[in-house]
Amino acid sequence: MEPVLNTQNTQESVAIDRILENHCQQAGALLPILHAIQDAFGHIPDSAVARIAGALNQSCAEIHGVISFYQHFRSEPAARHTVHVCQAEACQARGGRELTAHAERVLGCKLHEHSPDRAFGLEAVHCLGLCASGPAIQLDDRQHARVDPARLDQLLHQAREA
């Protein structure tokens, strides 16, 4: 579970300070900072943006611009689990489109949305480097290859039970 977030949350505040401190000497620190914050909180909380801007002597707009440019970073909390389904060519050649359609059906949402119960977010990814064993997906931090619809159902079920 992600920690509950609000601006008053001092734990969060301390954690952000520590991250900023760890990176203050680093050249080009913004991406490392954003990664560290997202790793800690699951997303980049709005409250962090002004603090980052202050620490790097940049404007909030600049920080927002960077966050929104990169697909990896998210400003909103993720669903409980995230499924990334590869949309790239080598997986297409092995039924990646059909697998995506199946995922949309069983999760009841489209790509870039989450299931109505917020148990799963469904995301696109362009290649996981598993192209000889497609179709490939990533479920939270584990990658899976040779995933047919039945295997996907099984993985989703395991995640739900876990």
Binding site: F69, E89, Q92, D141, H144, R146
Partner: protein
């Protein structure tokens, strides 16, 4: 002596259950009181056999695969610890034709050693290249790389020696070595296999580059989709620094090279070298205008070498064994070997390192064994999402930069993605345009707006408007000529090749079985 058993930690092996297989082997060995030493190696690159378990029996390693956790007990019953017969037994790994018939120079150790064992790396010629480089004047290192004929493996095939010389001759208080490990091209995974399977080779190559051009800092920019490669590289860098192979006074030479491993954040265009530098500086990945060349004004405006993982990983061997040995491989102006990645709808997908000059047909049928579905191979996309689609009539093309260019195609990073006859080439062309629209950095109009128009035109074609075809060609001509970088400039390759080689899929009223629109 415990028997050594190898179970790959490569992401593609783990994604099909290698961790569970490894755990089952350990449990079963403990239950039976058999002393075993379980080694997590890189992958041999025969992915249809993963998880590929190898057992060291005397001098040879015997392969079993694909081994699921459920197969483990029966393997013990069959005496696999001594190479016993079993339906999953493949024989001695090195004698498997797929592997035996390769020229593994860069991949010589991948899948063989434990990736984070500096001792094993050094026992297998690791750091011999750096040791030799430290005895040479810097210009001689650059000469060696030039004489080897090494060209960049990231896609553009620019001579590495010329790039290094430019940086070496530039005057500056700071220079950088930047390793492009963004490996954004779909259908490619050779960088990943090197980073996960033989990380010290990359560090050694970067260190040699640093000494050759006078750089003291470097970055590896690793795509965020490769979390394990990132973790292994970071660990390898720590180990190398501890052993005096990175940091200050490398091997007592008085030379320093400080390396940082950076995580990218899911943007394809950040694989373009100037966008990558923007990203390393903490900005959005917007492509910079060239000139100035990164070699003269790169990261923070300082002279920078930008090279792909495989380019840099090729360097230690060139230095250790000499340029002549490397240049002896290859065809025409394409010297050395190319790690080819066979993916998509192929029976035996994997990593095939061969000297340039091997034909697509050999790769697809001799190595690959035809399509995985058993249906005829209809189209092959070579060189990533911006590469051309080739047809059966072109399968005798040798893999050689010039031969591909003459056929209006590219080798790129060496990805070969196979499609059977159920492919809908209009849908593939649409995907290429849609990908460009999604990943464009937005700096120039032909790419940013053109790609969106391209999607619309292809939709019109699907709807039966024949006049859209000439307009699509015109648009492609503009994108090709007027885009600032290869994102917009090369998207026409997959689109036009699909249109030219598979016109039947674009004919009015063509409506293949799989024609669900790709409105995502």
């Amino acid at each position: 002596m415990p028997i050594r058993i190898f179970v790959p930690l490569d992401s593609a092996a783990r994604a099909v259950g290698a961790d569970e297989t490894a755990a089952a082997i350990q449990q079963e060995a403990a239950r039976r009181g058999e002393p075993v030493e379980l080694v997590r190696n890189g992958s041999r690159g025969m992915f249809w056999l993963e998880p590929l378990v190898e057992v060291q029996t005397g001098a040879a390693r015997i392969a079993y695969g694909p081994v699921g956790a459920g197969d483990v007990a029966s393997l013990f019953d069959a005496g696999f610890l001594h190479g016993g017969a079993h339906e999953l037994a493949q024989g001695p790994t090195e004698e498997l034709p797929y592997l035996r018939d390769q020229q593994r120079l860069t991949f010589a150790r991948v899948g063989v050693i434990a990736p984070l064992s500096l001792a094993e790396y050094q026992a297998q010629h690791g750091y011999a290249g750096l040791r030799r480089a430290l005895t040479l004047p810097p210009e001689a290192i650059v000469d060696e790389v030039s004489a080897a004929g090494l060209r960049g493996r990231g896609g553009a095939a620019f001579p590495t020696g010329i790039k290094w010389r430019t940086v070496a001759q530039a005057e500056a208080d700071q220079k950088y070595i930047l390793c492009n490990a963004d490996e954004g091209d779909s259908g490619t995974f050779s960088d990943r296999m090197v980073m996960e399977g033989d990380p010290f080779m990359l560090l050694e190559g970067m260190t040699i580059a640093a000494i050759a051009v006078g750089a003291t800092r470097g970055y590896i920019y690793v795509r965020s989709e490769y979390p394990q490669a990132l973790a292994i590289l970071r660990e390898a860098a720590t180990l190398a620094a501890r052993a005096g192979l990175l940091g200050d006074d490398i091997l007592g030479s008085g030379r320093s090279f400080h390396l940082e491993v950076r995580q990218a954040a899911g943007s394809y265009v950040c694989g373009e070298e100037t966008a990558m530098m923007e990203s390393l500086e903490g900005k959005r990945g917007i492509v910079r205008a060239k000139p100035p060349l990164p070699a003269l004004s790169g990261l923070y405006g300082k002279p920078s070498v930008v090279n792909n993982v495989i380019s840099l990983a090729s360097v230690p061997r060139i230095l250790a064994n000499g340029a002549t040995a490397y240049a002896a491989h290859g065809s025409g102006r394409s010297r050395g070997t190319l790690p080819i990645q066979l993916g998509g709808n192929i029976r035996r997908g994997g990593l095939v390192e061969r000297a340039f000059g091997v034909t697509l047909r050999e790769l697809l049928y001799d190595y690959g064994g035809g399509s995985a579905s058993g249906r005829p191979i209809r189209a092959v996309q070579v060189g990533g999402p911006l590469g051309a689609y080739l047809t059966e009539a072109q399968f005798d093309l040798p893999l050689d930069y010039e031969a591909f260019a003459a056929a209006d195609a590219v080798l790129g990073h060496g990805g070969v993605v196979v499609f059977d006859d159920t492919v809908d080439m209009l849908q593939q062309a649409r995907h290429a345009m849609a990908f460009c629209a999604a990943e464009s950095c937005g700096k120039c109009t032909p790419c940013r707006i053109g790609s969106t128009r391209g999607v619309e035109l292809i939709d019109q074609l699907r709807a039966g408007e024949a006049t859209a075809a000439p307009r699509l060609r015109e648009l492609c001509a503009i994108m090709r000529k007027a885009s600032m970088c290869a994102m917009g400039g090369m998207t026409p390759y997959p689109v036009l090749s699909a249109l030219d080689h598979f016109p039947e899929d674009f004919a009015t009223g063509a409506c293949p079985a799989v024609a669900q629109g790709e409105a995502r």
